[in-house]
Symmetry: C2
Subunit: 410 residues, 2 copies
């Protein structure tokens, strides 16, 4: 591991230095954000100067990504959460929801350059970028990142396989950015038509699952492919590095993992919902719950980057389920936990018995007794308006998969 | 007309100053271009220092756009005509042909900012850009131009009408860039669905014809729409201004109008083929014949811009036609003119008589005599390998429409 392996010195600094830098910036960004009516309403009375560490941050209310469409519809375009006028951004996007997103006027506004650098992209590379540039930010995220690294970009977009093969033959791109599936489609089409796509030796893939079988197939063709975890709200959240151990979190972003249905950070290693805070005063996000499950990996990356690492995408956090025609939400399970502090982890297991929905709340408890079990069952009914069984289990016996509601109906 | 009506002072300088500036740069750019093997082969022995005015430029060989696909295929990607490696550009494109084009790393690499400024685009505008960003440069031409002016851009691309209406409702864009037809589609869809698209008050349209009827329809909706003449090779060639008199030629580009089939400039006002020379040493073009017909408009624009003006797109220059199964090309007609300097304009009229192709060469001549007529008919047969009639007509009697071969078969 040498200096040339990293995009800049920020990636290898002492983690305490990074933490200090992030939390020195946070109060100032919060203060700027309070100029926006959406954040003022969201926070209520708040002293930004007091939010100087993770514990203080964890006390701020969360903002659920799933609520953004309704909030933005009520106050277009940005729900009053962006302090700067829309016309002052470089690009304006929409992504499924619909959610509307702004791109600041920066060289690398989505923080993709270091992800691409970690994937081996360098000045002199020609990148075939097959993410779409239309309406959604995907294409622009990788485009600006690649150009910040010094690459030239072919803005190919998805589809048009035939034309993409022509472009590969003419420009001989050395790198690919796009979904893993489309990379596979291109490589198979090239093989079928006798087009030499061997110029592509590196890839940054995202936007979809990259199963082991596909990883092997891509590697067998001599392509080193690295994953990114990106969202339309803020770009690259975390990215894979040559260490191949989880995804290193981006600089300039604070990631928390919280228990689904709550805003409470879980201990490192436990699976929970990914919550992001970003520090651009023109377009800040505070505790936005992305709806994705992940976990912090313990230890440091052998690649030399000192930032914390995510285990990758481990599923959807929003486990809201319909049981006997009624919605049951993760925050209701969190409410049960609040009312019974003697319980550790909770998991509502939903099954189907004799053609009817049934539910059992499995609750970790050091002391199993009937009185506790009955009290929890009563709370379950009050909170969910549904009757269910309660099973007390030993602490640590429930799986660490972030599931608060496990739907096991066939 | 005030200073605020122009993008910069270059637009209103004394035309002689512009001409001098262009031809001071040209020899240096030619010298840089000779580092590229394609230009060396194309020019043969050449002293770049001697090319200091239009007369000297007109002696250089032309490069036909229609020959680029074969030339690039033989020496990918750029036929050896680009002195800089492909990886040093920002974006790499392809357009129908296929022709491959490079975008230099500049804020406004396609010279679109002044065209959009002339169309009323200003900082603070939000632009709905419906040109495609995928593979072809259209979307990027207007995107970089609009951002250079200070606008925010919604990279919408073409199609997805429903989603575009959502985006119009959310962002309230004030300006449109795209084809005139798609603007009409959007406005009609908005009306049908009760979506208020009245926020759009200005438009830059190109890439297709903008007939009078459509101009009226767009104007009736309160939208001031201005046309551009752009090509994938170098971006904006000329653009309409509030004077509404022709299209003002871009700064930093030399436009010639030549007789189709030749490299010879026609007098101002006469219709001929558009030939461009651009002055970016990283990616220069010298006398590239675009295949489009236009003419220089006499006089100066009332908008204050002092550059020469094109009458707009007046048709395709390539008039190659099959007569009795044989191809007849404009350069053959030019060859006849070379052999008979006593003739002015020539026009080969192709008709159908008794189910057979027939051709008559109409030739302007001050002196009509049978001997000349017979000599021209003999030359016609030698050059085209086809028999045809000759009709001598008075000077100035043939139409000024750039047609060297007029196919009048039904």
């Amino acid at each position: 591991v040498t200096e040339a392996d990293h995009y800049d010195a920020a990636e290898t600094r002492d983690p305490r230095e990074r933490e200090t830098a992030l939390f020195v910036r946070l109060p100032r960004v919060l203060e700027a954000a309070l100029a926006a009516p959406g954040w003022r309403d969201h926070f209520g009375p708040l002293d930004p100067r007091a939010v100087t560490d993770r514990a203080a941050l964890a006390k701020l209310p969360m903002l659920r990504k799933s609520n953004l469409p309704a909030m933005q519809k009520a106050a277009p375009p940005f729900a009053g959460l962006v302090p700067v006028p829309a016309a002052e951004f470089a690009h304006l996007f929409t992504s499924p929801g619909p959610i509307y997103e702004a791109e600041p006027r920066d060289a690398d506004p989505w923080h993709a350059a270091r992800a691409l650098f970690a994937a081996g992209f360098r000045a002199g590379d020609i990148v075939l970028n097959t993410f779409s540039y239309h309406l959604t930010p995907g294409g622009f995220i990788m485009d600006s990142g690649a150009r910040a690294v010094g690459c030239a970009v072919i803005p190919a977009g998805p589809g048009n396989t035939e034309q993409q093969l022509d472009v590969i033959a003419a420009y001989r791109p050395t790198a690919y950015a796009g979904t893993p599936d489309f990379l596979n489609i291109l490589l198979e089409a090239a093989e079928k038509q006798g087009c030499d796509a061997g110029c592509i030796r590196k890839a940054s893939v995202g936007g979809a699952a990259f199963p082991r079988s596909l990883q092997d197939r891509v590697a067998a063709r001599g392509i080193a492919a690295y994953q990114t975890y990106a969202v339309a709200e803020c770009g690259i959240v975390a990215y894979e590095t040559p260490a191949r151990e989880g995804l290193v979190i981006s600089e300039d972003i604070i990631v928390e993992i919280v228990r689904p249905g709550t805003g409470d950070p879980v201990p490192d290693g436990e699976v929970g919902e990914v919550v992001v805070t970003t520090l651009d005063p023109r377009h800040p996000l505070f505790r936005v719950a992305l709806g994705d499950l992940s976990a912090i990996m313990p230890g440091a990356s052998p690649c030399g980057r000192t930032n914390r690492r995510l285990r990758g995408w481990l599923g959807r956090a929003d486990q809201t389920t319909k049981i006997k025609g009624m919605f049951v939400r993760p925050d209701q399970i969190a409410e049960i936990a609040r009312r019974h502090p003697e319980l550790a982890r909770l998991r509502l297991v939903v099954t189907r018995e004799n053609e009817i929905d049934a539910m059992t709340l499995r609750a970790e408890s050091a002391h199993a007794d009937g009185a506790l079990s009955n009290a929890v069952a009563a709370t379950l009914q009050v909170v969910t308006k549904l009757k269910g069984a309660v099973a007390l289990v030993p602490p640590g016996s429930l799986p660490n998969d972030g599931k608060v509601i496990a739907d096991e109906r066939a």
